[in-house]
Symmetry: C2
Subunit: 261 residues, 2 copies
């Protein structure tokens, strides 16, 4: 069930069979399913459990007093998110489901036990946290310095590469379960502007986007348009992190990522 979880983490640091088993046991704990538009965590509430996202797309968002809202992160299948949520007292944002989402709810104590007994998992979680922060910085840059077309093409490049790294692309296509309104809430644009940019991208044969499937017809041109540099995703290497003394491996194939340029 949580193969994807183990696989994701083992991208960052080699996990032992013991680590993998511990993860599996944990994720079988309490499984919860959400439907599109369901809110998984609410801003302002104290976090009650740790959610390990096993499958599906979700997003963080912040809602403003004036009714506008910003999508601040998008979780694609394989992302974990919020493992450290207990360090803070209350949620400062909400998390909602974009597709149907499977979540393993872990109690605080079970989680603490896990990371104290499995330092490599803790390490991998650090890694994931830092990559998430790097993505957040890039989004800040995207919103602050790029125009409408650049923002949207950047978002597409990023999502494609992230999906590619977890094996969810096929050829130059990938799922994209976002409405134009949601693309707008992610990029700080109105629906109308998003629509015009998309029309333009289609006209110029940069992309095709139909029935929630994105096809990138000219990746080079799209990257150029976005000034996209994937370095901030920190993919493409398996052995980062703190020193690790040898131990038996999980036997999982290490992801092959063809994402660097």
């Amino acid at each position: 069930m949580s193969i994807r979880l183990v696989r994701k983490l083992s991208q960052f640091t080699p996990l032992s069979n013991g680590d993998a088993q511990a993860l599996n046991r944990l994720s079988e704990a309490r499984l919860r399913l959400y439907q599109p538009r369901d809110t998984i965590m609410h801003e302002g509430e104290p976090p009650k459990v740790i959610n390990l996202y096993l499958d599906g797309w979700a997003y963080r968002h912040k809602d403003l007093a004036n009714g506008k809202r910003q999508i601040t992160s998008i979780f694609v299948p394989g992302d974990l998110c919020d493992v450290n949520v207990f360090v803070l007292d209350r949620m400062d944002h909400s998390v909602s489901a974009l597709t149907s989402v499977a979540v393993a709810e872990i109690s605080r104590s079970a989680f603490e036990q896990l990371i104290s007994e499995h330092p490599r998992i803790a390490q991998a979680l650090w890694w994931e946290t830092l990559v998430t922060a790097a993505i957040q910085r890039e989004w800040t840059t995207n919103l602050g310095q790029r125009d409408a077309a650049e923002r949207i093409s950047h978002l597409f490049c990023e999502l494609f590469v992230r999906l590619q790294s977890v094996g969810l692309t096929s050829g130059n296509s990938c799922p994209l379960p976002l409405s134009q309104a949601e693309i707008g809430e992610t990029t700080g644009l109105t629906i109308v502007s998003v629509n015009r940019v998309l029309q333009d991208f289609r006209r110029t044969k940069l992309i095709a986007l139909k029935r929630k499937t994105l096809t990138i017809l000219d990746f080079e041109a799209l990257k150029q348009r976005a000034m996209f540099n994937p370095n901030y995703l920190h993919l493409g290497r398996t052995d980062h992190a703190f020193s690790t003394e040898g131990e038996e491996s999980t036997g999982l194939p290490s992801q092959d990522e063809e994402t660097d340029d």
Copy 2:
């Protein structure tokens, strides 16, 4: 020397005298000073040391191919930053000095030893990392959903509250060592727009800003203008974090924060 560092961390979780001493010893290791405009870490380079920021203002920034750049974070005195930099292979952004900055350079091994011997310090660092991430999300929202005046007033509210929490405000004034150009690079606006907003704020008696000193004349109105809600800064409580068994305290006064509304 690193009183401020100890004080900052003890906001998050109580530190023992041993913890505090270890921090002191560490920060006396290699001290380095930077002048305004110096670049402390360069995007693209592998990190060589861990920088503990002892004093001064600095900022992260990302530079784009087209010459534009975005300031993605501002470090005020008391912030630590980049303690976890080794987990990633290369810097995905640069860090530069805004004022003169004092930095303690810690070797990777000394740092690893520190956190393994002093779990509470590790915990406090987690906390700091997560608050930094929360700020980054708020900045994403700021850039995506707020107009020029809202963005700038939000930035001012945030900086004031952060400075207040480390005792660097006096009355309703605080230092603000940013040029209008730099305010623009953090809020995604041009100098000209920043200037016009500031003029307007002065005319309407919201703020005064002169000689790098910001005075907030009407905090309530400024917060309103910004739709500022300080919850994301997660101030105002000392005991978050994972369970902690009792140990002798540092004797440092716990910061009193009057920042909640």
